[in-house]
Subunit: 493 residues, 2 copies
Amino acid sequence: MKIKPLKIDTNRESVVFIRKNSDFCRAIGSGILPKVELKVGDRSLYAILNTIEEDFLERDEIGLCTYTTKMLGLPAGSEVEVRYPEPVRSVELVRAKVRGEVLGAQDYRYIIRDIIENRYSKVELTAFVVGCSQGAMDRDEIAYLSEAMADLGENLEWGREMVVDKHCIGGVPGNRTTMLAVPIVAAYGLPIPKTSSRAITSPSGTADTMEVLASVDIGRSRMKEIVERENGCLAWGGAFALSPADDIIISVERPLNMDAPGQMIASILSKKKAAGSTHVLLDIPVGDTAKVRSYSKAISLRKLFEYVGGKMGLHVEVILTDGSQPIGRGIGPSLEARDVMSILANEPGAPEDLRKKGVDIAGRIIDFDPSVRGGRGRAIAEEILKSGRALDKMNRIISAQGPKTPTPPGALTKNAEAVKSGRVASIQNHLLAKCAKLAGAPQDQGAGVFCLKKVGDEVKQGEPLFRIHAEQNADLGFAWDYWQRHPEIMEIR
Amino acid sequence: MKIKPLKIDTNRESVVFIRKNSDFCRAIGSGILPKVELKVGDRSLYAILNTIEEDFLERDEIGLCTYTTKMLGLPAGSEVEVRYPEPVRSVELVRAKVRGEVLGAQDYRYIIRDIIENRYSKVELTAFVVGCSQGAMDRDEIAYLSEAMADLGENLEWGREMVVDKHCIGGVPGNRTTMLAVPIVAAYGLPIPKTSSRAITSPSGTADTMEVLASVDIGRSRMKEIVERENGCLAWGGAFALSPADDIIISVERPLNMDAPGQMIASILSKKKAAGSTHVLLDIPVGDTAKVRSYSKAISLRKLFEYVGGKMGLHVEVILTDGSQPIGRGIGPSLEARDVMSILANEPGAPEDLRKKGVDIAGRIIDFDPSVRGGRGRAIAEEILKSGRALDKMNRIISAQGPKTPTPPGALTKNAEAVKSGRVASIQNHLLAKCAKLAGAPQDQGAGVFCLKKVGDEVKQGEPLFRIHAEQNADLGFAWDYWQRHPEIMEIR
């Protein structure tokens, strides 16, 4: 049939449209055929079939949604063979998993290959994700899944014996330690080719914040050049097909708001492995309103990370950190970038908690270096930051990636004030993050929240607790209303 | 926005199309919004949002797929309010289930109500089905789910103290005992208002086979009349909204080919309860190629059925039957209808196995009558059949439902012959069923397979084992090829 790209955005579900009176539909009869296979040469793509009786397609045309168009990469009018789909064999393995069976390394490779080749419908994908969730996978299975996800996709190579990396599992607003650790570690001399994600559900991801200062969408060869010269970079990972299965799996995890340990570990470690890392420092913040809410859960997660990393030939070290409140003062791309740059510049007003955590993490990474005496890393990191070498390194990375004129914090502001005097007893991470998102973060780089008080600080009635920044009046209103309805964001006692 | 029905068949997924440059899309910004809520007065419907940049919609129009059009039931041009969807709260319960928590009666009601109101996407629905699968639900939860499914939908009432019913969990071709039990039991005098399904994956469902003889798509009032006059009927259940959640749940179970015990029990018993039954006889065929493959599994399933039935106020009795080979000779609507009618007419060549099983089941149902001395039911059933009263009752039911001229067995035939002499050692139910489906059953009423030999029969080389009937040459070829590739359908030793 002839391809007709349609500008229909189906949210990453591969959908095609064929007329009911086409030869194809007449041949398959009235039976239920939820999926078809598209063949072009050796390539094959599975897609959900929507049959139509509308005039926007001819009888010999197959309409493709934007996602399918992108996946196929063929111009309008190209011929594609439309077939009754071969059964996707690995779905049988998913059924086995759902029944409670333990799968092997090869099983996970079959499943991941079929997922990457887009053979799974969202229903099948969901069955896989849910079937693998909470306690259903043993730790070896998590390793098999992680390895399959890492192997079946793009792999970066650095030709260095040691390539370090860091990752935070998230849940704590403002926590931009990566942008401190990368320049410190790179200035020390360890290669740290960092790829980061954009925000999925948070007010800003590292890639969003870095983008205030420099381009992050840099290609493979440019990244290689920068890392060779500067030892480090801060690139957007989405530009590479590292663990492509992960992006597809996330497309069902996100609407379900599910993040089972096995999938989370596989997602993180597969990307690290595919990015060519050898040593990874993992930050798990623990707090009542963070992703991980108890130390016992954090510890079992740590053991899982270490075990699976070991199986994959990755040296993984996990640190448990305080996730009880935001780190730093800014929440949102521009506000966070200011925090980071003020720390690198050793400005007196720079947020101390973020500074300390950034140095801690950089120090732990430097400790990976066999020539460093265990525990000395922190002092080295501290010295690199104080000396201005970290700032210098950051500026070199920024200029190599392509500097930008930073968007200033949003000019529309409103202060959230204390309704009574007392002491800040707690800050609800997820509510404050929501407030920053309502203000427009991360779409509007200047939008977000600037914390003027943190837990333990004394406040007087009427004193500002945090400032909402927005670029648009409506957004300022949304964020303000949210604060009005949720005074528990900062509890004063 | 203004409704524009589009003839786009999305396979029971509620999908709407809105232009990217509509006020609605501009207001929500670039964020991910996979779902929207449509409000018309008090009613609300959730739908997947596909944003488009095509001209077949105006900026103020919302395009509806055929399924959404049907669900809303409003004409083109009607105004509908499109909203950012309220979060579907019961999805939180699904997440809890996936995490391994035990849910309560009210939880299942919330979930089922949201499912019926079409608030679940297929991803969420799949998470529910998989989260409830294999061993994840305790028996009380199965009862809660069954009751919620029965209550939230249409309920039939008969004003009789005792209303009997039967059900077979399926997997054995030809097994049309319902069409024997209903006339026998109705002739005895117990009300048996039977609703049956069409084939989902089999070559014929009871509704398909009955449809060879009479209309099965009879409305509620007509069914009531017939049952009042004749005590029994053989109607298609799809005409009623009995356990509507079940149909929605099946739409994800079917593509996954999953049929977990909890869901199966809830599906069956919710329909029985909603159909107003008080006493149910359940047939679980056990065999190597049946749905249930071991007696130990069948027994634990029996206990679950009895327990859940009891909780729901249903008297459920379960019989385990021989599921090692097809029952009767015909497989496919017309061939099965012939088997049934020949037994009711006491014809000498009628298949004895089907006759015996039909009488057994009718007898067990008659035993439900408190005035019958335990175990006497079978003799009563035998007598009713022999006397011709069952045939008479069947003819009255047929004529009340609207008689049809039966389609004869397909005139295109080909015999599957023994490649060697010996004894039939086994018959593979699922393969023989597949062969009948390839021949055109149940779409072509005359298509199917007629068994000339059964397990234990002696055969000589070249002697026919079964006859394929088709109405179309191509289908005869498909079925024949399948037999050629699968001589193990009937093993001769």
